[in-house]
Each structure stands twice: as structure tokens, then as C-alpha cells.
Symmetry: C2
Subunit: 394 residues, 2 copies
Amino acid sequence: MPKPTIEAIDFFYLSNPQILDIADGSQDALLVRIQGAGVEGWGECEASPLVSIASWKCPMSHSACKPLSQSYLGKIVGSPEDIKALHHLARSQSLDLLQADHTLSGIDIALWDWLGKVQERPTFELLGFKQSFSKRAYASTLFGQTPEETYQKALEIKDSGFTAAKFGWGSFGQKDVQWDEDLIQAAREGLGSEHDLFIDAGTVWKENVQEAQQRLPTLKKHNIRWLEEPFENDALLAYSQLSKLNPHTPLATGEGCHCFLQAKNLIEFGDIDYIQIDPGRVGGLTSAHRVALLAQSKGIQFVNHTFTSTLALASALQPYLGIEEFELCEYPVSRSEVARAISPSTLNLNAGWVTIPEGPGLGVIPDLKALAPYEKTVEIKIDHELVFKSKPIL
Amino acid sequence: MPKPTIEAIDFFYLSNPQILDIADGSQDALLVRIQGAGVEGWGECEASPLVSIASWKCPMSHSACKPLSQSYLGKIVGSPEDIKALHHLARSQSLDLLQADHTLSGIDIALWDWLGKVQERPTFELLGFKQSFSKRAYASTLFGQTPEETYQKALEIKDSGFTAAKFGWGSFGQKDVQWDEDLIQAAREGLGSEHDLFIDAGTVWKENVQEAQQRLPTLKKHNIRWLEEPFENDALLAYSQLSKLNPHTPLATGEGCHCFLQAKNLIEFGDIDYIQIDPGRVGGLTSAHRVALLAQSKGIQFVNHTFTSTLALASALQPYLGIEEFELCEYPVSRSEVARAISPSTLNLNAGWVTIPEGPGLGVIPDLKALAPYEKTVEIKIDHELVFKSKPIL
């Protein structure tokens, strides 16, 4: 049998009718479809849709600043090694095209899905795992606008059967220490003392260690299992310094990584405890799986970062599905309209544990009929010639 | 007098009639023009033009993924602190928009030029320097296709009066060690033994320390002053490991940094000797100047990265013009057609030393008449509505 060829790659820009100025990253989406050998694969970029589309079809600037279409279209892919080789090629040929990392992330995910379907095997097997393990879900949501609202959200999460939850963003870290304590206390009271509670500062202190240090006593008092993203993703020195201060709070970060090496740097130099990887940003499953293996060898916990659709969630679990000691899974519970439309069902939860559908590929197929009303058309012309025109999803 | 307002920001996509599949990054350009208070400021992004334009006007995805226009347009800017505050705002509001760093780089440069012209002061003074020092130029060019061609290029550089030169990219590092030695030897013979010779590997070995190590004896034998970019920009561990191997060769890198923190990481953890910063990528003069001050405090040499126009070169010198011990300057000598059109003249060279024009702002004004033939028009529509349409440069 001849090796299957990438015959077409299409991008679908989906959006809620209205985008609100809030931290909810599930308000729009960019889906990638690979077609070839009579099979379709799907992936999702965690990225600005229009800008990523531009990086797919922009004119070449020089040999290390090419559009991603030059690396992927028409290529033959018959094995995991072929996907990895294309990933390597794309990063070299688009070295100076910054957005390319976010865009190739979705392409890479779709390729792993597609190859799984071509070979009728689940993606985690293609990645080299013999079995998949259930993961303990933590409900991931934003702080309420007030402590009272946060308390109500936490209560609902507890009542839904989760054994862990994370609250983040909103006004946390932007007022004073007492305000943050009030928010944390409300979350803890709603969730109950027996469950794991994580706090996500959303990079609010940039690289200011002192600001973060002031919150350590509060975090300790309420038994917070990790402090997430106190600083920007690249603030290695700040992470390393905070990790040595008392009272000790485990640190989690990494969602901002747009390549394997940034995650490696956090692991090697950041003294963090949890590395959080979004395959839709880090370079797809190819990079995410490398990070998971590195984390395992270094004794650091790997966790997915997902705040969007069930398709994104199913792909984000693949890189560590077969590693039993990586127990936790970020499980978004406040998905917006368009994210729910991508796949109405969520992954199965059983007493707070997630299992992955064992279909071929990722096991989740987007619901195109439900999505059609959310599609935005895109047209890009250079010197009056069409360089990109989106296709209807149906 | 009221503080001046940013009334308009426009992007101009310029390109050679043909883009060749070679490493020459000067084949196209993206200029940024700021207008306000009756004055124009200019900057240049070292970036894919179309993708950067998209990041200026894309729809908001969420509160941390906004187009750059939301951060800059209509803002009042009366002081360097105002420019820095806008930089901070833009990076927060576009945290998850990867391309934003490359785009805001050109905007930030144009703002420093504009404020200089508004206040009738050179940009380096706005950055806090009392005087500017001449820099010793090293002629920056690509390896020839063969050792013989490389030899001829080196001979020409020597005859032009330079006291230092850098050769890079092409086939270097992609064949065997003997080929690399032949290229280096040719460059050394052409340049002469009395001048400084630098070698740029263009990230060819990714993070493979062994590949780089095999070239160390050759580099030593030909008295190479630095090895540039043996690895990808984020390969901190590889840089640190190579720096400790014998025979010791000083390491230079950093052109790939798209924010201050990445440069800080190279300085703190990479054990490098030279940090090379392109303001058109790193976040403009705001970030580049921070890197220069950090490098000074850490005893690391700061050097510009520039391979394009005289406008880019003039802006790339500003962050360290006032720091006498940072002596070197990358000086492109193979600018392509469109880069020469941006500003036909190069910066003054005197016995191999560069001086900056002391006009207000950056001191270099693009030649719009010469540029007009190179302009490419861009139109972007979403749901059939125009979200971006380029303006004629004339």
C-alpha cells in the first residue's frame, strides 16, 4: 500500500457571536482539518485564528521565514517518525515566523489524529504507549467577580463530584493581599477542606518575586496544592527564587510555552513542580509528548493545559495518557457556546476521574452541523490576488 | 502644551519583486509609521509582514489575546515612561497572541523615533544616555556557496576597510567538519590574520552539543572570535554545556529573542559571552535597552543584530549607543534591493567605525519615493467586512 499523502489542510475560524473582554479563552477557536487517503483528521490551535491563518499562507520572506503550507502540503506521512520529521522541517523553515509555533500546533495534532484513523489505532498508541490510564480531573474555572460568587462556583464544583478544582485570573493579584485572601478563602469554603485546591495567578506579577511572596502565607493557610503562573512563562529566575521561599508552595506553569525548549528550560532552571502543557500551543503532540517524557525523567509532574473544547481536551491528554504517575487533568467546566458546539459531550467523568474515548485517533470528532453557524469567513488579498479564502465547514 | 496623541499607525509591506529561497532576511520589510502632533515616526519590524499586519487588526479572542491596535491607537504619549507603559499594556493584552511581540517591536521603535522628533532630541538621549559612542563595525554577510566564493567575499570586505567580519548560514554545519573547516579557512585567508572573524551557524545544530563540539578545534585554529547561534535561541542547557568545553570559543546568540525575559535567561543561564539583540523582534527599544543595561551589569557584551535596512541599523544601535564598553556593531553589507531603497545611504563608516546621525529621533528617514514601487497592498476581510486595507505609502 502506498504511504498516505496530505492532500489538503483547511482552517476553520469559529467564534461566539460576541467576544467579551474576559479571560475565557474558549470564546473563539481555530480548527484544522487534514484530508488524505479518504480519511479526515482534526486538531485545534490555542491561538488567534486570523493571525494563525495568515502564517499558513503568507508569502515567503526568506529561507527561514516561510509559510507553514510549504512544509506540510503534499507530503507523505506513513509513520509517527514522518510526523516528527515534518514538525522539525516546519520549525526550521518558519524559524523567524513567530506565529508559526501556534499554528503548527493544530496541524500536528490533526496529523496524529489522521494517522491514527488511517492505521485504525488510538493516537496514544502511535505515541508509544501500551495502555491509557484514567486521570483525576480538576475542575478549571475563573474566579467569580466577588468572594461570594467564587464561593457559589466552588460549591457547584463540589456538588458535581470533582475532587479537585482550580480558580484563576479575574481580579486576583491586582488589588491587595487581603482581597486575594478573601477570594481564596471563599473558594476553599465552597470546595471543602478535603479536596485539592489550586490557584492560578495568570502571570499577574510578571517577574516580581516580592508580590508573589506576600501571598505565600495565605496559600499555606488554605492548603493550596499549587500556585500557577505567578510570573510570565519565561521568568525562569523569578520561578526559581520563589520556589526557595517560605512557606513553600509548589509551583505550576508552562501553558505559555510555544516550543519544547521553553518547557525544558522551566524544568531545568525554573525549580517548578508541575509543567503544564497545551499541545495547541507548544507545537502539537510531537512537542508535548517530548515534554512529558522529559518531565518523567526529571521527576516533575506533567499536566495538560486546556480551557476550551472536548477536542482540545482529548488531544491534551494523549501525551501522558500512558504515564500512570501523572495523575491530574485540567478539565474545563465553563466552556463557552462555541466550545460546546465543537463537541457537545464532555469526556466521561466517573467519581471525578476522566477516561478517554478509545476510538481511532483522538476519539473525538467535531460536530460540523452544530459548528456551521459559528463559522467566520476569511479572505486575504495581496496585490489584489487572493492568497487565502476560507471554505465552508459543511 | 497638551501631550501628543498617537493619531494613526500605518503598516507598509515592502518586497523585492522576487523572494529567493536563501537566508537573506532583507528581501522584504514591514515599516511602521506613527502620526501625531504633526510629526511622523518610523520603525521596522524584523518579521513576516502579512502575519504582523494580521496581529494589528485581528478580532479579540479574549482579554489576553487582543489585537495590538487596541493597546496603542489614540493613546497619549508625552514621555519615555508613557512608551514603556504602553509596551507593558500591549504585552499584557496580547499575552496569548504570539506574533504580537514581533509587531509591537516595530511600533515601539517608531514611538521612540516619533517622541524624539516631537521633543527635538535624539532617541538615545530619551533612553537616558548623555552621549553616543562610535561602534566598530563588523561586516555581516552570508558564506559563499563554495570556499572560493567565500574567500572573494572576505577579500572585498578587507579592501573596504573593515577590521572585523562575520560569515554565516548557507551550507555551514550541514555537511561534514572538513567542509566547515574549508569555509572558515577561506574566510580567514581572505580577511587576513590581523582582523576579527566571527562564524554564524544559524541554529543548525538545534540543541546537539556534540555536533558543535566537533567544530571547536577548527574554530580555535583559525582564531574565531565567537561562534554564533550553534543552537536554537531557547537551548539554554546546550549553550551552557558548550561554553564549558575545550578548546574554549566565546558564544554569541540572542537574535531570536522576542521578549526581554528570553534574553535575560540567556544571560543568567546560558553562559554566553555576547548577547545579540534585534529591536525589531525583541519588543523594540524598550526591551532592547533593558537587555543592554542587564548585560552591562552582568559583564556580558551587548551587540545589535541587524541584517536589513539603514533604518533598522540606526534603531538597533540606540539601546547601547551610550555604553562605551559595548564596542561592536553588526553592519550588513549585502542588503537587498528593497532594503537599499528604504534608505539609500548607509551609516557613516570611518576606518571601520560607525557613527550615528544625530538628527532628532533615530536620525534616518525612509525615502518614500524610492519605496513606492516595492509596496504590496494588503486587504483582509472577515465575514465580507474589511478589517484591514493598506494605504499607499505616497
